[in-house]
Amino acid sequence: IYLIERETARERGNTAGEVGEEEAGSQQRSLMWGSIPEGKNASELFPAVVKNVASKNIEIKKLVYVYLVRYAEEQQDLALLSISTFQRALKDPNQLIRASALRVLSSIRVPIIVPIMMLAIKEASADLSPYVRKNAAHAIQKLYSLDPEQKEMLIEVIEKLLKDKSTLVAGSVVMAFEEVCPDRIDLIHKNYRKLCNLLVDVEEWGQVVIIHMLTRYARTQFVSPWKEDDGLEDNEKNFYESDDEQKEKTDQRKKPYTMDPDHRLLIRNTKPLLQSRNAAVVMAVAQLYWHISPKSEVGIISKSLVRLLRSNREVQYIVLQNIATMSIQRKGMFEPYLKSFYVRSTDPTMIKTLKLEILTNLANEANISTLLREFQTYVKSQDKQFAAATIQTIGRCATNISEVTDTCLNGLVCLLSNRDEIVVAESVVVIKKLLQMQPAQHGEIIKHMAKLLDSITVPVARASILWLIGENCERVPKIAPDVLRKMAKSFTSEDDLVKLQILNLGAKLYLTNSRQTKLLTQYILNLGKYDQNYDIRDRTRFIRQLIVPNEKSGALSKYAKKIFLAQKPAPLLESPFKDRDHFQLGTLSHTLNTKATGYLELSNWPEVAPDPSVRNVEVIELAKEWTPAGKAKKENPAKKFYSESEEEEDSSDSSSDSGEVYNSLKKLCSLQLICYASNNTVRPST
């Protein structure tokens, strides 16, 4: 990288240095301006630059910091020279300098200074300024990646910082928690309610991290809210299960379920964030709802997700993928927004195919006719890849919704006379699959396709047609041998894929109609025997042994007919998003559909909820939390708002919407709290 950078910089070369010099004026700065972009000072200028770390000028100091972080690894010994300056800076009265000193110190990846870093982090975590504490939280992760052996000590610091009540710190410390000790869920208990309440005011990137962590937390600590309305879900399975069975099931399950108030708190407090301008936050809330809220409430996220479709295309890509996964399980959620997924000619191909995927998932008896009309427009699209994908989609709709299978099939047959080859080829492949699923009489279509064989050149389509004819050779007794004759002529010039199917066709015809095709098949087998491709030679040898009876052939050839003309199971046209829902939505793993390193499993709901009282905090502390000290007294409306709105919200909200139940539950909970405190069973706070 340095090399490349040097090259690019050298093009502008000296001019950059000169300009920098003129402008900067002072000696030190010219050093900085000129050197960093050129990247060549890695060795020779290091000592000179490091000296400047003690500079009083904050601008220069910052540049030296940037420089240090970049080159320290190569110049470990020299970097150590600067350490003492940082240690001094850590005690600077200015919070910003303290913070950046800590930041740079922790960014220098030199193993010798681990103890110094550890000390600095410990000190900073008790700093008065929340900004410095935030940086301490970041430093934790850095130190952990440098030296994992410090884990135990770091966890202590994390535990301490988790108790912090500043919104600035919350996001960073949760981030550190996720990196260092994601399995220590017990550290979260006491801070759970605080985090929920702070959430709205945390900066947006922090919100994302916290929401993801809380999702995992909720999955381990609360019982599943899905039981109560499992009936809903079962309705979708109705086709497979008899009603009686189902009733029995739901009866069994109908235990009284009440949601843990803390569970409710989380769901309620994240709801306003659906209105955030940051796509990542909205996505995070959406996945939280998807994974932990009762099924009846998930619906509210669909609107926000649909809104995200108007943002940048990469974001669209991620959102559409997630919607695709959701729409498989719960069609109803996105059905009202069907039209939002209509493809626009300006969409890039990847977006188009995802939208198609979703449209397919949403298709049902009611809307299929509208959808098919829409698909017709797509097939005419200039984007051939997209047109082909549309045809696949039509095929899938046809299999999923039995009412329209015939309509779709007719439509596809019409497409066979399309002028574009790719469209025709794709239609052939899809028709093949459809016909396979319906072993009814479709002689006409097969005849039509046999005619196509003269004109179409795409190998997959040719192979499909041949296979289809072979499979139905008894239904088209006149055409099949003729097709074989033609193919025998062009055998040598065909694609490997087609050759294999010719061999298959020959074998099947030999078995059913050996009088007419015996010689033809033998001719083809001879050609196959000397083919360049070993797969084809292999297949030829196999088929010959099987169908041509001779003294060496064993018992198998008796069953040749059974082997070749067995009833084949129809292929299942399935969504590629079918099994993706076991990954937490919105994560990289979900997008890749494989487990990425460091993926944290979402655990299943526990059968019995763990003791909810672990989340209780001593009453006194609870009160403090809602009116942070020092802020409440100030008359400045700006600051006041954040501290008191929580209170307002808590009291007013509960009276308004569905909060009544919650309110009483909460009262109960706080009663329990007080009992708890008086029983002296509370764990002493560390």
Binding site: I1, I36, S107, E203, A279, A284, Y317
Partner: protein
């Protein structure tokens, strides 16, 4: 959780600048990015996420640059993309335009910014207003010795710094609605929606507390104002700038906030209520193979007579091998743009209720090309000032500051075309 390193590459995939945040991905991995991208592009399976072994590249393209984040771990994909776009936004604010040249000219600032935007893979301060306070432009003469430290980063209100002063206290409110429309070939509306944004330009001293009142239906119902004479609008999925108190809005639909200084987008909303398409297009495109194409387009303004649409541009697709254009228009002028294969008919002002006509004639070569062309849709661009389709109105803007000054709010409404497409048969 997030990116290990961020690269900025030029069009050819050569790294211009990079910042390694975590050091767990070798910096040379980026060399695999471009070949991978090319390969996927050829296969036609381009995706914003590419993987090489264990390393994943999440990338976006901006003008002639690629911004790539690499990660080994299970990152939050939407967070990374949001961050990359945020980075583009910040850089664009600094350099006006983000492109190769501006990166080369501003290496130092880019380094500083990358350093501030993210720490160890976790996004930090990403508000360009705040960043501008302490990462000053190279062009600006840096006042030497004066170590001013911006307090904003550490504030609870991170988007506004204290001690702002203006002689005249004013707020400008722009309500901009854009209409997205999709009509299919036989004239039925497939999709019609309004995406509105409210933009503010704030020149206010001190720490003012603002409250914005809209004719929001839910609010009217809450306060019992929903009489017959008050027209109200039902806002759907509203999204706010971070300064708006979401919890407050959730409770009683009050939009209250302490604004950042200068320009910003306060909120955006969406309405999917059916409205009559503002400009309706009827078109007949007749293609006589081997000889000519005849196009007839009728445009009708379906909005109030008092309003006028400005800068109307109707682009009608023509076959790519068309030649010798001839036009006749009842108003405005038509122009053939061969590189886009469209005729653009522009009308400077288009009053509501009027109907205009354009005819175009093209020759076609006698030799036809082989591939069949699809039919791209007709697109329309326009802008209607002093008018909102949804009927949204700013009822009041209350400005409260502890010094008690008087401030003036100014409101302006504009409706414009968004993604406005009419498919042709």
């Amino acid at each position: 959780m997030s990116a290990s390193a961020v690269f900025i590459l030029d069009v050819k995939g050569k790294p211009l600048i990079s910042r390694n945040y975590k050091g767990d991905v070798a910096m040379s991995e980026i060399e695999h990015f471009m070949p991978l991208l090319m390969q996927r592009e050829e296969e036609g399976a381009l995706a914003p996420l590419l993987s090489h072994g264990r390393v994943h590249f999440l990338w976006i393209k901006h003008s002639n640059l690629y911004l790539v984040a690499t990660t080994l771990k299970n990152a939050n994909a939407s967070l990374v993309y949001s961050f990359l776009y945020k980075t583009v936004e910040v850089f664009s604010e600094y350099f006006k335009e983000l492109e190769e040249e501006s990166i080369r000219d501003n290496f130092v600032i880019v380094y500083e910014l990358l350093d501030e935007l993210m720490d160890f893979g976790f996004p930090q301060t990403t508000d360009s207003k705040i960043l501008q306070e302490y990462i000053t432009q190279q062009g600006n003469k840096l006042e030497t010795g004066k170590s001013r430290v911006p307090p904003t980063v550490t504030n609870a209100v991170s988007w506004r710094s204290e001690g702002i002063k203006y002689k005249k206290n004013e707020v400008f409110i722009d309500v901009i609605e854009s209409v997205n429309l999709l009509v299919n070939a036989n004239g039925s509306v497939l999709l019609s929606e309004i995406v509105g944004t409210i933009k503010l330009k704030v020149f206010l001293s001190g720490m003012p507390e603002l409250r914005l009142g809209l004719n929001d239906r839910v609010l009217f119902e809450l306060t019992g104002l929903s009489g017959s004479k008050n027209k109200s609008v039902e806002l759907e999925d509203v999204k706010f700038h971070q300064c708006v108190r979401l919890s407050r809005f959730d409770n009683d639909r009050t939009i209250s906030f302490i604004p950042p200084d200068g320009d910003f987008e306060l909120m955006s909303y969406r309405l999917s209520t059916q409205v009559k398409p503002l400009i309706w297009i009827e078109s007949v495109i007749e293609k006589f193979s081997h000889s000519r194409v005849e196009i007839m387009v009728k445009a009708k303004g379906q909005f109030k007579k008092q309003s006028v649409a400005n800068g109307v541009e109707i682009s009608v697709p023509v076959p790519s091998d068309a030649d010798s254009p001839r036009f006749k228009t009842s108003v405005g002028s038509a122009k053939y743009v061969p590189e886009k294969n469209v005729v653009i008919w522009s009308i400077k002002s288009f009053p509501g209720g009027k109907e205009y006509l354009m005819r175009a004639h093209f020759g076609l070569p006698s030799v036809e090309k082989e591939e069949v062309e699809g039919r791209p849709p007709i697109g329309v661009k326009f802008e209607i000032p002093y008018f909102t389709v949804s009927g949204i109105q700013v009822r009041y803007m209350k400005i409260i500051e502890k010094s008690g000054y008087q401030a003036l709010p100014w409101v302006r409404y504009i409706t414009q075309s968004g993604d406005y497409q009419l498919r042709t048969s």
